[in-house]
Amino acid sequence: MKHLDEYRDAETAHRLAAAIHNEAADSGRRYRLMEFCGGHTHAIFRYGIEDLLPSNIEMVHGPGCPVCVLPTGRLDMAIRLAKRDGVILASYADMLRVPGSKGQSLMKARADGADIRMVYSTLDAVKLAEANPQREVIFFAIGFETTTPPTALAIETAAKKGLTNFSVFCNHVLTPSAIAAILEAPAVRELGTVEIDGFLGPAHVSVVIGSQPYEFFAEEYRKPVAISGFEPIDILQSILMLVRQLNEGRAEVENQYIRAVTRDGNVRAKQAVSRVFELRRDFEWRGLGHIPYSALRLKDEFAAFDAERRFDEPYIPSEGIKACECPAILRGAKKPTDCRLFGRACTPETPLGSCMVSSEGACAAYYTYGRMREPAQ
C-alpha cells in the first residue's frame, strides 16, 4: 500500500501548490474549474486542497453524484417497488436516507415492513435472488459509467443462470451528457449556471470510457479537460494542467491519470454495457432537468430483467423540498452555504436533500469537512 503515501506526500503537494501559485496568482484572471465528480468534491474537502490554492482559483462543484442527481420521482418509484408484496429491494446504503416525496424514504419504508437490503455490489443482489427463489429481488441500480459494467455483467450472469426472480431498476446515467447539459442545454441555461473555464474529469469513469469522449467538449466549447485521479497529488497536478492550458490558450483533453486511463478506455467493459443497455430517449436529472439520451435502459432482449417493465411502474415526477438548493448546487450555480437550511434544519443526521445524504454530495462534504470555514452565525 506504499502507493497511497506516495500520492499524498506533503512535499510533492507543496511543490505543486507553489507551481500553481507561480502560474496563476499574477495572471490577472480568474479560473473557475468544475470538478465534475462528487468523489473529487469530497477529496478536495477531506484534504483541504482549497487551502493550497490562490484565491483566483475557484473550484465549482459538479453534478457527478449519482445519489444526488436522481430525481425524487425515481426514488418514489423505488419506494413503491420495495413496498410490493414479495419484493426484496437491494440497494446501496447511501440511498436509504434520501428523502422522497411526502417525507418518505427507503429507510422509513423499511421500518414500515418493506424488505430492503443493503448490498455492496450488483452480484450480491444476484446472490440474494438465488437464495430467495420465492421472492422477487430488485436491484436499485444507480451510478455513472463506473458502476454500469458490473450491472451489465450481473444481468448477463442472471440470464445465464436462468434466474426468473431477479430484475434491475436501472438509473445508470452518463457523464458526458451531464457535462454537455451544463455547457449548452438551453433548459439548463434558463435555470442558471455559472461560467466554467475548465473541467476536472473523474479518472474512474475514464478507466471505462477512456478520455476520448471529452475531446468533443474541449474542441467544441473551448474548455480544457484534465482527467484526474482522486488522491490530493492527482488533483493538484490536474489543477496545474488546467491553469497552464488556460494561460496558454489551449483547450485539450489531458490525462493526469496515465497509470490507468487510456484514450479508448476498457473495451471489454464497454462491450458488456452495449450488449445489455441502450440509450434512453430522455431522463430527468435533479438540477439539470430532462436531458435527452443521458441515461441507459435495458435492451428489449433483457426486458425480463427490467424492473420498470416487469412491474409496469410508472414515473411520476415530483418536486423535492422547495427551499432545498440541491438543484442549483448540482449545476454549480450555488454553494451549499447559500442554502438557508444548511447546517440548521439540514444536517447529515437530518438530511432534507440528496446532496446532504450522499457520501459524494457537496452539502455533505461542506458539512463534514469544511463547515469551520463558515463565519460563525
Binding site: 497511497l4 484534504y47 483541504g48 486542497i49 493550497l52 436509504l96 469544511g370 460563525a376
Partner: protein
C-alpha cells in the same frame, strides 16, 4: 440466577463439547443448565467468589470512589483475528472502567445464547473470557445465562458489567479538557474495526490486520501513577477517534487542533479503508486510549506510555483550543485544513 453449581454432580453423562449444541433446556433453570454452568463457565472463570455459588457476588471494597460500567457485545463474526466476543467483552468493560483512572476489580457476565449454538464454541469463548480476565487481573464473579429459540438471537450475545476503585487524588472526566492541554493517543488507529470488516462475509479481502483488542488497565495504572493530573482518558471504540474527540469537545466545551501526519495508522489499515470507502479515524479501536493532559506533563506522560507494551506507539496528535463551535479541526498531511466529524448515517454494524 447464578452460574455456580448448587450441587456437585448432576448428570452422569458429560456435555458433548465436541459436537453438542445448546438447546432450550440449557436455559430452563434445571439440571441441564446447571451442567452447562458447571462444565463450561465455572472452570473457565474459576475464582473463589464465584465458587461460593450464590446468586450474587459478595466482596469487600476499599474506601474511596468506585466506578461501574456495563456494555453489551453483539460482534459478528464471533471469532476474528486478534480475539473473539469473549475476550472483547472483558476488554471492553475493563477499559470503560479504567478510563476513569480506576483499577478494575470485578466483572459480571451475561449470555444470551441462540438455540443450536455449538457447545464447543461456547466453551472456547468462555475460556477466552477467563484468560482475558486473568490477564487483566479481574475476576468474573457473577453471571447469567439465557437460551432463546432459534432465530430470536444471532448465535450469542454477551453482556459484561464491571466495577473498580479510583486512586485518591485522581479526577478524570470527559468534561475536564482545557485550552492549551495536549492530546495523546496510545497507538495506531482503526485496527479493530478493519480486522472485523475484513472477516465479514461480502467484504472479504486479503489482509493481515488483527484486532487491537486488549485490556488497558495496566497502561492506565502506570499513567495515573506517574501523572495523576491527567484530565481526560477515553478509549476510541465505536465511531473511532473522530467520534471520541468530538464527544470530549462537547463535554468540555472546547475545540481541538490535530495534526494528521502525527496520527499513526498502519498502511494495511489505510489501504483497507480506501477499498471500503472509510476514514480510518471513524473506525473502531478496542485496545487504544486517548489522554488529555496539561501541556507541561505531556512529554513525561508520553515516556511512561511508550514504556508500556500497549503504548509503544504513543504519540501527541494535537492540542485543545478555545472554540465555541467545538470543532475538531485537523491540519491535513498536505497542509490544508478540515473538520474531523462524527460519522453520519450507517456505521458498519456489529463491530463490538
Amino acid at each position: 440466577m447464578n452460574i455456580a453449581p448448587r450441587t456437585s454432580r448432576l448428570s452422569t453423562r458429560r456435555l458433548d463439547l465436541v459436537a453438542g449444541r445448546v438447546d432450550l433446556t440449557h436455559g430452563a433453570g434445571g439440571r441441564a443448565m446447571q451442567q452447562l454452568i458447571e462444565e463450561i463457565f465455572r472452570p473457565a472463570f474459576d475464582n473463589p467468589i464465584l465458587a461460593r455459588g450464590n446468586d450474587q457476588a459478595a466482596f469487600d471494597v476499599a474506601a474511596g470512589r468506585m466506578v461501574m460500567s456495563t456494555d453489551c457485545f453483539v460482534v459478528s463474526p464471533l471469532f476474528f483475528p486478534g480475539g473473539d466476543i469473549g475476550s472483547l467483552a472483558v476488554h471492553g468493560t475493563v477499559n470503560d472502567v479504567a478510563m476513569s483512572g480506576a483499577r478494575p476489580l470485578y466483572l459480571s457476565a451475561g449470555f444470551v445464547i441462540e438455540e443450536g449454538f455449538p457447545l464447543a464454541d461456547l466453551q472456547r469463548i468462555a475460556i477466552s473470557m477467563g484468560e482475558a480476565a486473568r490477564a487483566a487481573g479481574v475476576a468474573v464473579v457473577t453471571g447469567d445465562t439465557k437460551v432463546v429459540e432459534r432465530g430470536k438471537a444471532d448465535r450469542l450475545f454477551v453482556n459484561t458489567a464491571g466495577i473498580g476503585v479510583v486512586p485518591t487524588g485522581v479526577e478524570i472526566s470527559g468534561d475536564r479538557a482545557r485550552p492549551g492541554d495536549a492530546i495523546l493517543i496510545s497507538g495506531t488507529m482503526g485496527d479493530h474495526g478493519v480486522a472485523i470488516m475484513a472477516h465479514r462475509a461480502g467484504l472479504e479481502f486479503e489482509t493481515t490486520i488483527v484486532s487491537d483488542s486488549a485490556s488497558l488497565n495496566g497502561l492506565v495504572a502506570d499513567m495515573v501513577a506517574a501523572v495523576p493530573t491527567i484530565r481526560v482518558l477515553r478509549d476510541p471504540t465505536r465511531g473511532g477517534l473522530a467520534a471520541t474527540l468530538n464527544e470530549i469537545c462537547h463535554q468540555s466545551g472546547v475545540g481541538m487542533r490535530l495534526d494528521e501526519a502525527a496520527i499513526p495508522i498502519k498502511p494495511e489499515v489505510l489501504g483497507a479503508c480506501e477499498l471500503l470507502g472509510l476514514d480510518a479515524l471513524n473506525v473502531a479501536n478496542e485496545g487504544k486510549l486517548i489522554a488529555v493532559v496539561p501541556a507541561a506533563e505531556a512529554a513525561r506522560l508520553l515516556t511512561v506510555m511508550r514504556a508500556h507494551p500497549l503504548g509503544r506507539d504513543a504519540t501527541m496528535i494535537g492540542d485543545i483550543i478555545a472554540d465555541p463551535s467545538r470543532f475538531v479541526r485537523m491540519a491535513t498531511r498536505i497542509g490544508g485544513e478540515r473538520i474531523v466529524d462524527w460519522l453520519a448515517g450507517e456505521q458498519l454494524p456489529r463491530i463490538c
